[in-house]
Each structure stands twice: as structure tokens, then as C-alpha cells.
Amino acid sequence: MSTATTDAPEATETAVPSFTVTFIIRRFDPDADAEPRWQDFDVEMFPTDRVLDALHKIKWEQDGSLTFRRSCAHGICGSDAMRINGRNRLACKTLIKDLDISKPIYVEAIKGLPLEKDLVVDMEPFFASFREVQPFLQASTAPEPGKERIQDVVARERFDDTTKCILCAACTTSCPVFWTDGQYFGPAAIVNAHRFIFDSRDDAAQVRLDILNDKEGVWRCRTTFNCSDACPRGIEVTKAISEVKQAIMRGKP
């Protein structure tokens, strides 16, 4: 069995054509550069490769100083959100075959957060607004001793979409309101508030609704749908924000 599987990839690899793709990457070295600069790299790629593989090839074979975050490389850890051809995407979920390789592929750091180096930004303001919405279960009643808190399928379905968030910041840094006004909570914080506001086991929905009914809260949302487009997990972010708006108007989830 093991011999069969080792033979198979070799046969397919020769069949898959490779091609040269140009990447133009926005570099910034805080020790040397006053301003970020664009640098291009030619990389030999397969259509099945991802943008992250290209970054790896550049870092490992061409320029070891290229700096970017990545951890699991499978779209779960949320480390490698970046702006690819002007759209916020996870580098590990963007396939080369889905991009127009007749033109160079532009890769830059996500916007609206302080740039630290190359594709790495300071995520602290993002996590600060995440913490402000109290993203943890707060129940005022104790569960029956030795039992869990029971939730039926329908009540779980209510907030299922927003449980998928991986905090990659792709949505928040695609939001034009966030770009100009760093005080705005941003889509990701509202999505994570939504996950607890509509959880039947949670009793602090009112606290979170009050927090988001702020001058810099949900009302700044202009329903541009950039966040829904950017979300690598397919969360309907704009819909979640609208549901929080409606909950604030009703005064209860």
C-alpha cells in the first residue's frame, strides 16, 4: 500500500504544468525603511499551490528576510490574513489557480492596523476591541449539579454562523469605517458579541448590547459588505451586525 501511494504523486506531478508567477510584495523594514516599498519576486508555481506556498518559496529560496505570520497553514489559526490583489484573504486558502496569473499578484499587509514589518501588523488594537465585548459565557444561574446547561438544536442554530470566527482580522481590516476611525469596534468584535448575545445559556446580552450601542458601536456600520466578502470562514458578517442592531432597537436579543 505504501509503495502505491508513493508512486502516484510522482506520476501526477509530471503531468501538472508549472508556470512562473510574479508576486509584488509590499515590504517594510522598520530598521532600514522610512516608507514601505514594493518588491517583486518571480516564483515557479503549480496551479494547486496557494499564495502561502509562494511566500514560503520566496522566504526559503530567495529572500530570507521576508516576514509574515503563519501557523497552521490550513485556514484555522487565522494568522496569515493579508491583502491579496486588494482583497483581504487568508494566504493559506487562496489558490494560485483562482488568481489571474497573467498579471502580477499584489500582496500587502492588512490595512488599518499599525504595520510592524513586511506583512506583519500589530494586532493589539483588534484584540482590545474583541476583549471589550466580553467574549465569554456569563451565566447568572448555576447549572443543575452534575449536569450541563441544556440547549436545543434551534437555540444553537441561532448563533451557529458566528461561532465560526477565527479572529484573523480580515473583516475588521477590510472595513472602510475602521480604516479612518480606529475607535470603531469593527466587524470581528461585533461578530463575537453576536455569538454570546444570541446564546440561550448566556445572561449578559444586555451588557454587550449596551457596549455596542456606543457612539463607536454598531451604528457606525455602513453595510458596505466588505467584511462579508473578506471572511475566510464564510460568516455573513453584515447580517450578524444587522441582527445586533435590531436587538439593540428591541432592547433584548
Binding site: 456569563q138 476611525d181 451604528w219 432597537m249
Partner: protein, 147 residues
Amino acid sequence: MTTIEAPRSPSRPARRGVNLEKWGWIYMRVSGVLLVVLIFGHLFVNLLVGEGVKAIDFGFVAGKWASPFWQWYDFFLLWFALIHGANGMRTLVNDYTNPGKVQTTLKVALGAAVVVLLTLGTLVIFTFDACPAGSPAELLPSFCPAA
């Protein structure tokens, strides 16, 4: 020694009083729906009914404003549309400027323009007189008794 804050203490103090962002948002939705009705009604009556667009002249406007219904219709159209547009401009100012002197100046100028236009517009709608008494006859429109 560093102290760790209690996990549930809010880092922004809770705000008191009226939330203008919220009411601004609600106003945009409500006035938007009303404006669809008002604007299409306005266009229909002015451009399609009767002789259509050719009918619009000084006398047409004077005739409309002789009726309290059209006075109030245009009053609501003016107030809803101007404040709706100004609030949209305010969000644009928020988008394209940073908090500071420029932003404050732009917002004050916007507010002043709205107040002036609303005052003048309302004044014209309710005090409009097509045939003011004591005017020279050659300046009056043909349908005035003095002309």
C-alpha cells in the same frame, strides 16, 4: 507588582444620555422610506400629470403653493431630504478627515448651511406671494389682477 483588572470591568465607561449615532441611523432609515414616497410623488405630479414637463413655469409653482397641501408636501420634502443628505455628508466628513480642527470646521459649515437653507426654504414655502401688493405692474406675472 502588576495588578490585573477584574475581567468584567468595562474599559470604556458607559455613556449616558441620547445616542446621536443611533438616532441618526434610525432617522436615515425612516426618512429614506418617506423620501421614496415624497420624491416619486413630486416627480409624478410635476413631470407626468397633465401637460407634463412643459407645464412647469412660474405660474405652475405659484399655483401649487397656493394650496396648503402642496406647501406642507414641499415642507416635508425639504426637511427630510436636506437633513438626510446632510447626515450623509457628516458620515463622509467622518470618513475622510481625522478628529481635529478640520473636521470640526467642516461639520460646523455643514450645520450652518443646513440651518440657512431650511430657514430660507421654509420661509419661501409659507410666505410666497405671486402677486405682492404695491409692485410695479410690468414685474408681475400675467395672471395677477394688478397686471
